[in-house]
């Protein structure tokens, strides 16, 4: 038996909750959130550190506190959700197969679907670090789960590979729990995480950040006994003779996050090779009409505040789609592709399909000072912003108004950056 539902949201983390509330506020009542974990909130539940909510609530919250702001609304609005529920299949005609202990395996046919499936961490295998395969190697997020959710200590002397925010946060967390963090190695010449986290998570505890360094060998038969690190050249290749052995029982990997898009793939949704997420328009609609995507499943955000903001767009768009019976208002239709020029790694969205205000998020491909970022049609500047400093770790945004979009005559605009490369 296939049940019908107006809107199914896959994922009950910050993106899914925010999208659900937004869809509700835009008139949709028949909503169902499917969440695979035992609580709503997704990864926020284990992110017990603060730094969430500055933009959204103008105060500094921890992950669980930020999550609760949304969970409370979900409860108050009585938006239905199912926990411990795994979606196992998803087709482009919006039939969802899921499984949980109460319902067994069940199918739902939805009018619209929002993919808010989050992201996963890049594991060791993807790095091809030579050496043995002992225990004691964790992705930073797994270690975070062990410590903050389970109350288990992964180890006591630690090397961290990668200086993404989770890696930095875990350096502090493990130090506070009595472990010795011996070094954080970053293959790039600049930190992967935010400057603030380098300051308060590493510098506060005198943990060395070794830029342009990587782990070149793993040692230990049963449990990790140490790692060999080395300097890398500008092509990220280890420089012979710079090897250094560090004894440790734990290696944390904070080497990148990958949008979780197995369901999107199974539905044949077009993916962006740079972000790993779906290609979407400014309404966060994917290449399949009626399927929307938001949050880290779309592209990896550095701040949850932006996840919530983006999910609101997806929630509203899905609501509009349902209310209009799948028809988009024709007179506003546009088909503009956003191309990335020099200095820009990616933009989300990559398409503009209607004359409505659009927020274009982007990341740069390097560190630049006195940067001017412009959206151009040919030589004409459609919109631009200036930034004293832009870094790849921090997402930036340009707003396009409906009027800006109306002025675009052709089908292509280009995102360009001019500035001093650091």
């Amino acid at each position: 038996m296939v049940k019908s539902t107006d809107l199914v949201i896959i994922g009950g983390g910050p993106a899914g909750m925010s999208a659900a509330i937004s869809a509700y506020n835009n008139g949709i009542r028949d909503i169902l959130i499917l969440e695979r974990a035992e609580t709503l909130g997704g990864i926020l539940q284990q992110c017990i550190h603060n730094g969430f909510g500055i933009h959204k609530f103008n105060e500094e919250l921890t992950g669980p506190e930020y999550s609760w702001r949304y969970e409370k609304q979900i409860l108050e609005l009585k938006i239905p959700y199912k926990l411990n529920t795994m979606v196992t299949e998803f087709t482009r005609d919006k039939i969802i197969t899921a499984v949980n202990e109460q319902d067994g395996i069940f199918k739902i046919k939805a009018k619209a679907v929002i993919l808010a499936t989050g992201c996963r961490e890049r594991p060791r295998g993807a790095l091809n670090i030579p050496g043995t395969r002992p225990s004691g190697i964790f992705t930073a997020g797994t270690a975070q789960k062990y410590i903050n959710i389970k109350g288990y200590m992964p180890g006591k002397s630690v090397v961290i590979l990668g200086s993404g925010d989770i890696g930095l946060i875990m350096a502090r967390r493990m130090t506070l729990e009595g472990a010795e963090v011996k070094a954080v190695c970053e293959i790039m010449p600049y930190p992967g995480g935010r400057a603030r986290n380098v300051e308060q998570c590493l510098n506060d505890f005198n943990i060395p950040l070794k830029l342009s360094h990587t782990v070149v060998e793993i040692h230990g038969k049963h449990r990790l006994t140490g790692v060999t690190i080395a300097k890398v050249d500008e092509n990220k290749k280890p420089v012979p003779g710079t090897e250094e052995y560090i004894s440790c029982d734990t290696l944390l990997l904070s080497v990148g996050l990958i949008p979780e898009n197995e369901l999107a793939k199974s539905a044949g949704i077009e993916l962006d090779s740079v972000t790993g997420g779906a290609v979407v328009d400014q309404n966060r609609q994917t290449s399949v009409k009626g399927i929307f995507a938001c949050g880290n499943a779309l592209h990896v955000h550095d701040l949850v505040d932006y996840v919530s903001e983006e999910a609101e767009i997806a929630g509203k768009s899905a609501a509009d789609y349902i209310k209009n019976n799948g028809m988009s208002p024709g007179s506003f239709a546009r088909n503009i592709i956003i191309k990335t020029g020099g200095g820009i790694r990616y933009t989300v969205p990559r398409k503009i399909t209607s004359i409505t205000d659009a927020k274009i998020y982007f990341r740069t491909s390097g560190i630049y000072r006195n940067a001017k970022i412009s959206i151009k049609e040919g030589e004409r500047v459609v919109a631009s912003i200036k930034k004293k400093r832009v870094v790849p770790a921090e997402m930036e945004m340009i707003k396009l108004t409906g009027d800006n979009i109306r002025e675009i005559k052709g089908g292509i605009v280009t995102f360009e950056l001019e500035g001093l490369h650091d």
Partner: protein
């Protein structure tokens, strides 16, 4: 006192145990590791070779062809995945073409069925992603792929279900010969048996020495592999080899039964029998080789690398012999050992019979074992019926491979019982997907702890001192 003790729970020990479990005999398998299939069986190419490779007249040739023929039925009985995907040896020049013809003739002499020589067009027709530089190929339609550790686990599980005992963490330190048989001694315990079968893989020479046989030695040859994401598994459908060199069959490209793409192995003689580390050079060697055979391999989709050790006997053939009275050594089982294993088991049973042991068939022998992946193969209705009986089949623990808590508990409870994270992984595939256990290992740790009634900090990744966590946070002691 057992009738027979088998030392080594790799594929040879496993198949032998299962073969012997058909008879009214008391059998015990010993292994020094915390799980079965932890040596060469754990990490190899997983190919069931057709049998054109070994020299005519060798044991290798005979047992390979026979074993390979036996495999489909054994896999069926044991619920182990086996895919008859066929193999291709591809050649790029005249020299290769000659070698391929030699292989063809050898295969015919060995009794391999359906072998065919292909020209370029036929080759590209069969496998469109092969390099355009290839000029000819040997096609062996009877070749197949399986999962070697799954096969060994299932064979031992089935043997145990039919009465065989298994003792893990049993490292043989000494073997004493008494009037009525042998005493096999570890640092903790000893077992007695009338017959010993030495299937100790890389350590078969050490075990043989304990029984006074110093006639052979085994040295380790390392093979490194790269495993690519499932989305690459359909790049080729056959197992693709280059032409062989004196060092072996060279680097291959093959789909796995799980749908991944496997590249490797390298071939490097080493001295340490426990060194399964991967190396920078090994990874580079694979990357530089496979590009010659197949177009556009997506190397950015590597999900893991690993290495395995082949037990090389140095005689060019399998060494299957009496090392002492009623003491059979099965050694030097390098490639095609996996393919030959069922036939080796039967051969060993024949040797036992020659000694005068009574091989009387059990009436109640059950050749079947439930597949470790049975749940996945059910229809939704059947799954729901099982879920109503046991809700844990509806609780997905491993999200990448969709493994439920019910399946994980099955792996911990059924023979041979999984007692650590890697053992659960080999049985259920939990943790083998694209996140490599990041999401599920914290849950599986708790399930293992609860099922085995062992504190979480004592649960290991793969036995020994490979514990995963060191205790509770907050200094641990308050807990």
């Amino acid at each position: 006192m057992y009738d027979i003790v088998i030392i080594g729970a790799g594929i040879v020990g496993a198949m032998t145990a299962r073969e012997l479990s058909k008879y009214l005999l008391s059998v015990c398998i010993l292994d020094k590791e915390s799980d079965v299939a932890m040596g060469a069986t754990k990490a190899n190419s997983a190919i069931i070779h057709a049998g054109y490779d070994p020299k005519e007249g060798t044991l290798k040739a005979r047992l390979n062809v026979l074993g390979s023929e036996m495999m489909p039925q054994i896999a069926e009985e044991l619920g182990v995945r086996y895919i008859n995907n066929g193999s291709l040896v591809i050649g790029f020049n005249d020299e290769d073409a000659e070698k391929i013809k030699t292989l063809y003739r050898r295969g015919i002499a060995n009794g391999v069925k359906k072998l065919a020589l292909l020209d370029k067009d036929e080759l590209l027709n069969l496998e469109s992603n092969i390099s355009k530089n290839a000029v000819c190929a040997l096609y062996a339609p009877t070749s197949g792929i399986t999962c070697p550790y799954e096969l060994a686990i299932a064979a031992i599980g089935n043997a145990m279900d039919n009465g065989v005992d298994l003792k893990l963490n049993f490292k043989v330190e000494e073997i004493k010969k008494n009037e009525d048989g042998y005493e096999v001694i570890s640092s903790f315990e000893s077992v007695k048996a009338k017959y010993i079968i030495n299937a100790a893989g890389l350590f078969a020479d050490d075990i043989a020495k304990m029984a006074g046989d110093t006639s052979f030695s085994i040295h380790p040859r390392k093979g490194e592999y790269l495993l690519l994401d499932k989305e690459c598994g359909s790049l080729v459908s056959h197992t693709i080899f280059g032409t062989p060199t004196e060092k072996g069959k060279g680097i291959l490209i093959t789909p796995t039964v799980d749908g991944n793409l496997l590249l490797g192995p390298t071939s490097v003689d080493i001295t340490d029998k426990t060194d399964t580390s991967t190396t920078f050079d090994g990874i580079e060697t694979i990357l530089s080789q496979v590009n010659k055979y197949v177009n556009s391999i997506p190397f950015n989709r590597v999900i893991t690398s690993f290495s395995g050790l082949r037990a090389v006997g140095g005689t060019g053939d399998f060494i299957i012999k009496f090392s002492n009275d009623n003491f059979i050594s099965v050694a030097g089982i390098e490639s095609p050992g996996l393919s030959a294993a069922p036939a080796i088991a039967r051969y060993v049973a024949g040797m036992l019979k020659e000694t005068g042991i009574r091989l009387e068939k059990k009436k109640k022998f059950n050749p079947y074992r439930k597949s470790m992946h049975f749940f996945k193969n059910l229809s939704d209705e059947e799954k729901n019926r099982l879920i109503r009986e046991n809700r844990k089949y509806a609780r997905i623990v491993c999200r990448c491979e969709m493994v439920s808590e019910g399946e994980i508990i099955d792996a911990i409870r059924s023979n041979p019982k999984a007692t650590n994270l890697d053992a659960v992984k080999r049985r259920t595939r939990s943790g083998m997907g694209r996140c490599q256990g990041g999401f599920c290992s914290p849950y599986i740790l708790d399930i293992l702890s609860e099922e085995l009634k062992i504190p979480v900090e004592h649960i290991t990744k793969s036995g020994g001192a490979s514990n995963i966590i060191i205790g509770r946070t907050k200094g641990g002691e308050q807990w």
